[in-house]
């Protein structure tokens, strides 16, 4: 699992440690473990957003010789001693997390993928006192959850904030008379789509928009031509879809072939994937999507290049960089606490921020990362954050979306 270089430097460090009196008690490595979906329905999401970040982080930390732990007076490399496949099955995941904490006795457990799985394992992390930096999770009751589980940290906005961020973009355009008040709202027929449609729908109506077409389609639909044709004839200037990656791609492909060019075109999960820009090239410009990032932050471009070089997989413009950022926080918190004692590291994560990351400074005092991107847009081949517009690095909106 480690690179050869990592192993060699690890052995060298271990030998150096053996001859050093001070480090007699130091562990030879910081033991890391995780259980995540390597197979099954969640495997795609985990492979896109989470796993490349884990691999890159291990390499980056060990290239520097490890994490500086003051109580041992030296750098200690990280070692992934257990990497389990939960097979996209929540019960399997629960069992594996217990195993990591009670049998493998790893020092830190990296979180699984998806909201549902992170919430499912939150009680276990809390029971054994492991910090849970749950990046790929969000819920409307985050504030209550972090009270219930003091080891839990959220990095993504509550679903309603994503709606608010988009509506603020629309409001600006509408009040300038650039778009009409008609909106098309599609959604994929599963829990994500239902919550999306409910949340966005209520927000849109509350802000005086007229939803002229609202439809949901099944997950894995083979054809969305009819939906696009209906949207085209609806007279709405704004197209919003609470979509998942396969349909995000299909909607764009179909809109291109049907010559459907609404002034505002927004799709949800998958829009921020590097593959989206790769597949549609210049045609992607102007497309809005959930998420966003600021490629001009210190370290961001370099992170992008390192991940591509290591994994051959470009990070997305939403949760991928945040995943890496969450691990940067873990390293800094360990160094600040000067120990591998999880209780102290947990306190440090919460109280000693804001932390420097490739996603900008992150403060976790409330256990919830507050300020973040809600809406991004493809601009000149990059998916950049545009809303909330008071975020540092927010780009002006490209309007109207150029014809495909």
């Amino acid at each position: 699992m480690d690179s050869l270089l990592g192993r060699i430097s690890f052995i060298a460090l271990a030998m150096a440690a053996a001859s050093s009196a001070l480090a007699a008690d130091a562990p030879k490595s910081i033991r890391i473990g995780y259980a995540i979906s390597l197979s099954g329905v969640n495997a795609q999401g985990a492979a896109t957003t989470t796993l490349p970040g884990y691999d890159l982080w291990v390499k980056d930390v060990n290239d520097k010789g490890g994490i500086m732990v003051k109580e041992f007076g030296k750098r200690i490399p990280v070692e992934v001693v257990a990497k389990y496949d939960d097979t996209s099955n929540a019960e399997t995941l629960l069992r594996l997390e217990e195993k990591l904490m009670t049998q493998d006795k790893v020092d830190f457990v990296l979180p699984p993928w998806s909201t549902g799985f992170n919430l499912a394992v939150a009680p276990i992390f809390a029971k054994y006192g492991y910090p849970q930096l749950a990046v790929t999770a969000n819920a409307n009751d985050e504030e209550q959850l972090v009270k219930q589980f003091p080891t839990l940290f959220f990095f993504l906005n509550q679903p309603m904030h994503f709606g608010a961020a988009l509506i603020s973009v629309l409001d600006t355009l509408k009040s300038a008379g650039k778009i009409n008040d008609k909106v098309v709202l599609l959604s994929v027929g599963d829990q994500f789509g239902a919550e999306f449609a409910a949340g966005f729908g209520a927000g849109l109506k509350g802000s005086g928009y007229d939803i002229v077409l609202q439809k949901s389609y099944p997950l894995g639909a083979a054809d969305l031509t009819n939906e696009i044709k209906e949207a085209k004839s609806s007279g709405a200037d704004t197209f919003i879809a609470g979509s998942y990656p396969p349909d995000t791609f299909m909607l764009a492909g179909t809109a291109i072939t049907q010559g459907y060019n609404p002034k505002v075109y927004y799709t949800a999960v998958g829009t921020a994937f590097a593959e989206f820009g790769g597949a549609f090239k210049g045609k992607a410009d102007g497309v809005f999507g959930i998420g966003g990032w600021d490629p001009n932050l210190p370290g961001a471009q370099d992170y992008y290049k390192r991940q591509v070089a290591l994994t051959g997989h470009a990070p997305d413009g939403w949760a991928s960089p945040v995943t890496y950022a969450s691990l940067q926080i873990l390293v800094q918190a360990i160094e600040k606490a000067g120990t591998l004692d999880r209780k102290k590291v947990l306190d440090a994560i919460a109280n000693d921020g804001p932390w420097d990351t490739i996603s900008g400074p992150i403060d976790l005092k409330t256990h919830i990362r507050e300020k973040q991107w809600g809406v991004g847009q493809w601009q000149n081949g990059q998916f950049v954050g545009v809303s909330p517009s008071d975020m540092a690095g927010a780009q002006p909106v490209m309007f109207p979306k150029p014809a495909w």
Partner: protein
């Protein structure tokens, strides 16, 4: 939107369902193997098309001249190595079906696992002919129309072979009555292997066509296997014309439902149609008792 436009859209989708089902039908109806790993071959061909297109710029339709024969060979080999012992051992058709279901179920996981390791679980998509095409006054996606046309050509070719060649007659005889076929000099083992291989070749063709307009990952196989199973049973096991008709019917029903009723109900409509056919004609639309 006029109803005729909706129906055209459905026909284009249904043509592909029909192609997917015909390959499955050759394996199930003729070689008597319920190949649960059928969709995995489709997925593998989709990846082959993706890599050839993105790495070497090979036109997916031309790429089929490589992937389809390769799939033919691989499936022939699978039949000879994996299925022949089962076929030899089985005393009845039912026993053969039961045992091959278990064997191909295992094969499904082997292929999917290998693909996940080799290609990662990421969704893949490439843009090939994602352009509008005006046809009879309506606009369709060029890649979907091309897929439909290719499926039509392949289906016609399969039909001609089955209807007008000695090989085809032998295959049909095998589908209807394996014992009788053997009595009149049909080499059952050899022909079954060929039918199975042809089925795999059609899966590869379907996988290539699907990859031009759907995103895919190593886990998509089972969806297509299920759809193929539904279409084959609806159309009648061993009946290629039945698969064609049932595939088109399913595509049109889904399109009509998504436009006039609700997009969320397309799956329900597909299975409702399946149930109705099963109740009214248990041996399928074109099945013989």
């Amino acid at each position: 939107m006029p109803v005729i436009e909706v129906i055209f859209g459905g026909v284009i989708l249904g043509g592909l369902y029909a192609l997917v089902a015909m390959g499955f039908n050759l394996q199930y109806g003729v070689a008597r193997i319920v190949n649960l790993a059928y969709g995995e071959f489709l997925m593998t061909a989709a990846f082959a098309a993706f890599w050839m297109f993105t790495l070497f710029g090979v036109n997916p339709i031309l790429g089929m001249f490589l992937s389809v024969p390769a799939a033919f060979g691989a499936n022939w080999l699978i039949y000879r190595v994996l299925m022949t012992p089962l076929a030899r051992r089985a005393r009845t058709r039912d026993q053969l079906e039961g045992e091959t279901i278990l064997a191909t179920f295992g094969l499904l996981f082997v292929l999917r696992g290998a693909a996940t390791i080799a290609f990662t679980a990421n969704d893949r998509y490439y843009d090939y002919l994602g352009e509008p095409l005006r046809l009879l006054g309506f606009t369709f996606a060029a890649n979907r129309v091309l897929a439909f046309a290719t499926a039509g050509v392949i289906a016609t070719a399969v039909w001609v072979v089955l209807q007008f060649t000695r090989f085809g007659v032998a295959l049909r005889a095998l589908a209807i009555d394996p014992v009788g076929a053997q009595l009149v000099g049909v080499d059952v083992r050899r022909l079954s292997a060929l039918a199975f291989a042809c089925g795999g070749a059609l899966a590869a063709a379907a996988g290539t066509l699907v990859s031009t307009f759907l995103s895919f990952n190593p886990a998509i196989g089972i969806e297509f296997t299920m759809k193929a199973l539904v279409v084959v049973i609806m159309g009648g096991i061993g009946n290629m014309l039945g698969s064609l008709a049932a595939g088109l019917m399913l595509g049109v029903a889904e399109a009509l439902c998504s436009y006039y009723v609700d997009s969320g109900l397309t799956l329900a409509v597909a299975y409702a149609l399946f149930l109705i056919v099963l109740v009214v004609r248990p041996r399928g639309l074109f099945g013989t008792a």
